[in-house]
């Protein structure tokens, strides 16, 4: 069985972990540079605040309605997401991190009759360990698990846990799910399906897979199989490339020296940025990972998420930030085996929101990166690359409402009244 654990209003919930006074209250989290609302607590949604609403013109309204406003605090969200993931490891050895707030678990050896209890235990344990509310959906395929997690969230009676283990149950849910809400069906596909009189998940599930494959593609055919309880998608225990780009590699030989690790990470940053530019996206934050040899007794691995001053695909900027971060998490006398870098919070470059008053990636950088890619394409990889030092810029991002880095900065850990 596949199990999808989905954190409810993740960023807003993260802001409530160390602020019990805000639990059950309207909370919104803003995007980079405080432009839009990117997360809303249930109470904020109930006030009618829209997703991706611009914050500028409703600021006084938010204050009047006592809505707590936060700038995004990705180091906090990254740390709490890790904690959720680590807690989930208590329940399954096979976990796919689908995104910062969604994880797939593969459950074997659990009897169908006890799946509901198991799901409830997962939900309660995650809440107890992290104070983050999650929904749990369990079903025989990933696509159905996704449906189940929607039901867990939307149907009151489920109380956050839904198991779709029989055809009768998943047909009930499919009848109530429009095709555009199915995982993997874009609104463009939904429109084309509507031309074929296919409006609900149930109608799609009973369509002829071969016919659909001819008119759409093999992915849609797989969705049909999955909707009928035949698993086609397996757990991707390495991160999904579409939402985030990772470059992790093992070293030729383990090392405890800082310099080779820094060099390696710069190289991985350059690779990841190339991929990022190929898919024409910008990254808003960067994760750096470091693993020690598993065969030594003081096995140690660490990762840290850092926010970029502005969404970027600039190798120079990202590589410098990655190097600074490595120096923060590296420990002396540990032999490291593997390092890596992840580019997170990707957004399409062409839809970038411009901000008049705050810095962002310059046109010159775009041109420089394009030239670098061209040269490396023609003359082979690494024909042109960064020298050891990066750029020296003063980075300032607008984060007027940022909460403390409760879990990653000594000066900002919560104070408790005694």
């Amino acid at each position: 069985m596949f199990c999808l654990v989905d954190c409810n209003s993740f960023y807003a919930s993260c802001e409530q972990v160390f602020r019990p006074d805000l639990r059950g209250k309207p909370v919104v989290v803003l995007s980079n540079n405080d432009c839009f609302i990117v997360a809303r607590s249930a109470q904020a949604k109930a006030l009618g605040i829209g997703d991706l609403q611009t914050v500028f013109n409703i600021k006084s309204w938010l204050h009047k309605n006592r809505v707590a406003i936060f700038s995004s605090n990705y180091p906090l969200y990254g740390d709490l997401s890790n904690r959720v993931m680590e807690t989930l490891r208590l329940f399954s050895a096979h976990i796919e991190i689908y995104s910062i707030d969604e994880m797939f678990l593969f459950l074997d050896n659990i009897k169908n009759a006890s799946l509901n209890d198991y799901g409830r235990t997962i939900k309660n344990t995650v809440y107890r360990h992290t104070a983050l509310p999650v929904g749990v959906g369990i079903a025989p395929t990933k696509t159905l698990a996704k449906l189940a997690s929607r039901a867990a969230k939307d149907i009151k009676k489920c109380r956050g846990v839904c198991v779709l283990d029989t055809a009768k149950k998943w047909d009930w849910m499919k009848k109530r799910t429009p095709v555009n809400k199915i995982w993997g069906i874009s609104s463009r596909f939904a429109r084309r399906l509507a031309d074929l009189n296919i409006y609900t998940a149930l109608e799609l599930a009973s369509a002829d897979p071969k016919y659909i494959r001819r008119h759409f593609n093999v992915c849609v055919e797989r969705i049909i199989e999955e909707l009928n309880g035949h698993p086609c998608l397996s757990l991707e225990e390495v991160p999904n490339p579409r939402k985030q780009i990772y470059c992790t590699r093992s070293f030729a030989r383990k090392t405890s020296q800082v310099q080779p690790i820094l060099d390696a990470v710069s190289l991985y940053a350059a690779r990841a940025c190339e991929k990022l530019r190929t898919q024409e996206s910008l990254a808003a934050s960067v994760q750096v990972l470091l693993y020690s040899s598993t065969y030594q007794s003081n096995y140690y691995n660490s990762s840290k998420v850092v926010q970029l001053p502005w969404p970027s695909d600039d190798t120079r900027l990202i590589s410098q930030i990655a190097r600074q971060t490595i120096q923060k998490i590296i420990r002396p006398n540990v032999f490291y085996m593997k390092a890596g870098i992840g580019l997170l919070e990707l957004s399409p470059k062409q839809h970038q929101q411009l901000d008049l008053f705050y810095p962002q990636q310059s046109h010159k950088t775009d041109q420089l990166m394009a030239v670098m890619d061209k040269i490396n394409h023609y003359y082979g990889k690494n024909s042109i690359y960064l020298a050891a030092e990066g750029v020296h810029k003063k980075w300032a991002m607008r984060q007027a409402y940022r909460s403390p880095a409760y879990t990653s900065c000594w000066g900002e850990i919560p104070e408790i009244q005694c």
């Binding site: 805000l22 807690t87 992290t130 007794s297 006398n333 850990i413 919560p414 104070e415 408790i416 009244q417």
Partner: protein, 133 residues
């Protein structure tokens, strides 16, 4: 002609006696592993105030809090009381949160007060010199 770099040996060449300790080298002590059983559920916090001095918690001490543990009678807990975080002793017999300082009266847990036990204080650390970072 290019001379290859000479390898650097960390151990000295055993011209005399080998170190008698070589066979007994073990990993150095790791405070995290010593103090923290559930890393994913454990948070650090700073004590502020004087109500817990009787149990050895002073203003500015570091608190290590495990959220995953069930709080028992007489244990030091972090509680959210009407939305505010506070560190006190959980007195299950008298249904109250007690301070460890006679100048602070106990706080009765009524059905009207909004009380959540956030975690158990598993250790507290005093700094006798300033911490490194």
């Amino acid at each position: 002609m290019k001379i290859p770099p000479l390898p650097l040996f960390i151990h000295s060449v055993p011209a005399g006696f080998p170190s008698p300790a070589d066979d007994y080298l073990e990993q150095s002590l790791d405070l995290n592993r010593y103090l923290i059983r559930h890393p994913a559920a454990t948070y650090l916090a700073r004590a502020k105030g004087h109500s817990m001095t009787g149990r050895g918690i002073f203003d500015g001490d570091l608190l290590i809090v495990d959220r995953s543990l069930e709080a028992g009678h007489n244990q030091i807990v972090i509680a959210a009381l009407d939305g505010q975080l506070t560190c006190k002793i959980l007195d299950k017999q008298h249904q109250c949160l007690r301070a460890a300082n006679k100048n602070y009266p106990p706080i009765a847990i009524s059905e009207f007060s909004d009380l959540i036990i956030e975690g158990v204080v598993i250790h507290s650390i005093r700094h006798h010199t300033p911490p490194v970072s």
